[in-house]
Amino acid sequence: MKYETPDLLVLGSGPAGLAAAVRAKEAGAKEVVVIERAEEPGGILPQCIHHGFGTTYFKKVLTGPEYIDSFIKKAGDVEILTHSMALELSSDKTVTVASAKEGLIQFKPKAVMLAMGCRERPRGAITGATGFLGGVRVSGVLTAGTTQRMVNIEGYVPGKHFLIVGSGDIGMIMARRFVLEGAEVLGVLDILPFIGGLLRNEIQCLRDFNIPVRLSHTVLNIHGNKAGRGRCEGATIVGVDKEMKPIPGTEERVDCDTVILSVGLIPENELSRMAGVELNPLTGGPIVDECGQTNIPGIFACGNVVHIHDIADDVSKTSEDAAEYAARYIAGELTPSERIPIKRGENVRYVVPNYFSKDRPVTILLRVSWAFNDAVIRVGNIFEKSYPYIRPSEQVKITLSPEALKKLKDKELVVSCEGKETVSR
């Protein structure tokens, strides 16, 4: 067994981990090691062959692989260990890693950066008001991200006639990809009365490719070989009401051989839990302050492991901010956060970070809880902005300077949204 003591250990080499590693090095951390469980670095980006990356970070239009390649090239003497998986993280920052090349390694870094990203919600975890997805357990029921890897990296198309459940970004992007591969996409469903992903994907993936959309619909049952020893043959879909309960009489059978589930991303915090990092039930990720630090000193977190971001550019930028603070922590120069609470107010689903200080800038990311027209986002008494149209899938980013923060009158910062519901709840 090997023992290593780098300055910073980064868990994950995606757009969060790599950006953080590179910036930490630039900010003065001497030895930076990145742990990656897959065969190659990049996290999820190698399979995101669509463009739309880098628009704000590089001011270019790049594909996922091109975007992450820029960071890999900047990595310099940051050590990236592939085929290496963190097995344990303890509250004293000891990390046990199983590495194909090196065997077992126990790291005791000065600081840890959690950048493990997220996973997809599987079929069995769909627990909403419509209840569980019933029916037989045949082949051909897959989550969108899994099929993205299958198509884009391994060169396999799961089926020929697709039904896509969930209008999140990955579902919409894969809908377009399946059409480009010659398959038929029968439709995209969403249980809510509005699209679950970015507007630009709605246009570039669904409208441009004439893919039918059925809002306020969901799937009830999967059909196929009775014992499950066969392929999917169809699904029963149904309309839902305001409480998202099935409307009797609206059931419809759709013949398809593949049902793609794009029903949510969940931050992956097994290791965080192991270490006793406090998690936020609203996001599924660690509670962090304006430095990206968790409740355990020296354990920082960035990227989708904290909360699901919309855009890789935002992931990289906020990860770099956290890395700067991590470097300061390593040098013994990080003054603790004042931990003034940031709370979600009316019509806001969640806000990150959870704490701030008045003497450091803070970048707030939030999601509203419904779709609104003529919306106004308010941050305490210190910031206000209008949006003609806003919805949960379009994350809002607000950066506040210390000057602005010092004007806060209350003991906590409440972020709220006011507007006209596009569809009543």
Partner: protein
């Protein structure tokens, strides 16, 4: 007559837990034995979709149902077997059995609870039966004591009956038994459903026609689950007491391993549903840390439909919450599954599959469909007895000298290993450093070993290694597993299936659909491998590798229960 696929002394038909148990039992002796199974792998039907109770029959025997079966004359001599044979012996046998076979079993204890006064009465009847069996137990109506054992139990609890029992992943049993039988020379033919059986008077043996060829056998063990009546009919045996195959759809829901510790024992609600004798829903801590809640009960004539229903799952959830109110369903649910428990008989009695006897039509044809008595090791004893009655000598003279009862375990091998052991594994084979299942830490080396032990499908790999059962439910591992299967079996990935039949996962290659005239490929037979180096090791070597656990603490229950009295009861 087709080609001769095999010629054996004893042919076992059906590769579920019963068939594999029979195969392993027979592999101790110097007979030529083989298994035929209609699917591509063992344990594919009810054997993998049940509560995973080992030794559960102790409580089952102690219920009204057992009494009614006895009253009705049972279906054979097996009707009372559990009561005679299994009470004490199998408890210690069970530990040894699972250790030898490398089955991930743990002593979860088995707690029956009563949540109302009617159930408390039934609990007392059960306790009386256990007393008659000289079976150790703890019975208490002290709510504080019950909460000490199970802190999260409902406040409504009125009584609890605690037994020394255990639990395991149900699919481990057919797999482990099959592999050990193969280690000892037994053969197997998969994707070989039986189409006809005839008795050849001149050769004094059976001719068994299957989808892949014919087999000649001197003895047949009919372990085909609810397919057994169809096979028995082929030799003119109407299986007395069996009227029509019906079944009950039983559904389960699984919560992820953040739920480890919510219950300390298997906790089952005493019979209710308004139907006496039907036990309630059970909350089961699984060896991997997950929690399963099940099962629902929906009588059905369509015994082939194995899916889940909204109502069934909601039933499991609401009943589970009756027992353990704090179950975090929406936060932790990851999977649902179902099985069909075959029921034979016209009395609507739940789970009366009780046959273990030679056929009256041909004494060399043994029906072995003993169902729903848990995965009890004790069945093997009675099977041996029945085979002897059928004329097959199973004694010293025909025992193999080199019988090896030890099957090296595979499930979650890397995840369970100590850090030093993990280091050794990676040094031995760097594929132990290639994580395939990130939720359960299963590596490529284990996937390859599973394929070398006979897996030809994703589910086959999943059941042997424990992958795909965590929070992401295969989203990460599936593409990798499909690729490894294709590579190790030498087939295109477009032919790799989820669970046999036509359940291919990746149907087409990239851009194939853009060409003219794409055909959907037909599924074809894939020969399972059985060339694991580990399974070639001798008994001596494997015994050294197997740690000897102390047997003396096998009465201890998890949750801090004191040792139980052997012959008495201990009441508070």
């Amino acid at each position: 007559m087709g080609n001769l696929l095999d010629k054996v002394d004893v042919l076992v038909i059906g590769g579920g837990v019963n068939g594999c148990l029979a195969l392993r039992l027979l592999s101790r002796y110097k007979y030529d034995v083989a298994l035929v199974e209609r699917h591509e792998d063992t344990g594919g039907e009810q054997s993998k979709a049940n509560n995973g109770n080992v030794h559960w029959h102790l409580a089952y025997c102690a219920t009204e149902v057992a009494q009614r079966v006895d009253d009705a004359g049972g279906a054979s001599s097996a009707g009372t077997f559990g009561i005679d044979v299994c009470s004490m012996l199998t408890s210690s046998m069970q530990v040894r059995f699972c250790r030898d076979l490398g089955i991930d079993w743990f002593r979860s204890g088995y707690m029956l609870v009563a949540l109302n006064s009617k159930e408390l009465e039934m609990l007392k009847i059960a306790r009386h039966r256990l007393r008659c069996l000289s079976c150790p137990y703890e019975f208490t109506t002290d709510v504080n004591r019950i909460k000490e054992l199970e802190p999260n139990i409902s406040d409504k609890v009125m009584g609890a009956l605690l037994l020394a029992s255990g639990t395991a992943d149900p699919w481990d049993f057919p797999i482990a038994l099959y592999e050990n039988a193969r280690q000892n020379g037994a053969r197997a033919h998969f994707s070989a459903g039986v189409t006809n059986i005839t008795w050849q008077k001149d050769k004094e043996c059976f001719l068994v026609e299957t989808e892949r060829g014919d087999i000649e056998a001197n003895y047949i063990i009919n372990a085909a689950g609810y397919g057994a009546p169809r096979l028995a009919k082929m030799i003119g045996d109407e299986l007395k007491g069996y009227v029509k195959p019906t079944g009950a759809l039983e559904e389960y829901i699984v919560l992820d391993d953040t739920c480890k510790g919510i219950v300390n024992h298997v906790v089952r609600r005493m019979g209710y549903y308004g139907k006496p004798g039907l036990l309630g829903v059970q909350v089961t801590p699984m060896p991997g840390g997950e929690l399963s809640i099940g099962h629902s009960y929906l009588p059905t004539e369509d015994v082939d439909w194995v899916g889940t229903t909204r109502e069934g799952i909601e039933f499991c959830i609401s009943e589970g919450k009756e027992i353990i109110p704090a179950l975090p369903i929406s936060e932790a649910a990851i999977a649902v599954y179902a099985g069909v428990m075959p029921a034979f008989g016209d009395q609507g009695i739940y789970n009366v599959g009780l046959v273990l006897a030679r056929s009256e039509k041909n004494r060399r044809f043994v029906n072995f469909t003993l169902a729903s008595f848990g995965i009890a090791a004790g069945k093997g004893l009675l099977l041996a007895k029945t085979l002897q009655e059928a004329g097959l000598y199973l004694g010293r003279g025909v025992e193999k000298d080199n019988f090896n009862p030890i099957r090296p375990p595979l499930k979650r091998r890397f995840a369970k290993a100590s850090n030093e052991e993990k280091d050794r594994l990676i040094a031995k084979d760097s594929c132990y450093g290639h994580v395939v299942c990130r939720c359960k830490y299963v590596t490529e080396a284990e996937v390859v070993e599973a394929i070398r032990r006979g897996a030809t499908t994703y589910d086959g790999v999943k059941q042997r290694t424990g992958l795909g059962m965590g929070r992401c439910q295969g989203a990460f591992d599936k593409p990798r597993v499909l690729a490894i299967l294709a590579r190790e079996l030498g087939i295109p990935q477009t032919e790799v299936t989820l669970k046999g039949g036509t359940s291919v996962e990746t149907m087409f290659t990239a851009k194939e659909l853009l060409k003219e005239g794409v055909e959907i490929k037909q599924s074809r037979y894939i020969e399972p491998r059985f060339d694991s180096e580990e399974l070639k090791k001798s008994y001596g070597d494997l015994l050294e590798e197997l740690e000897e656990e102390e047997m003396k603490d096998y009465w201890k229950l998890s949750g801090g229960a004191e040792n139980l009295e052997f012959y008495g009861e201990w009441e508070r």
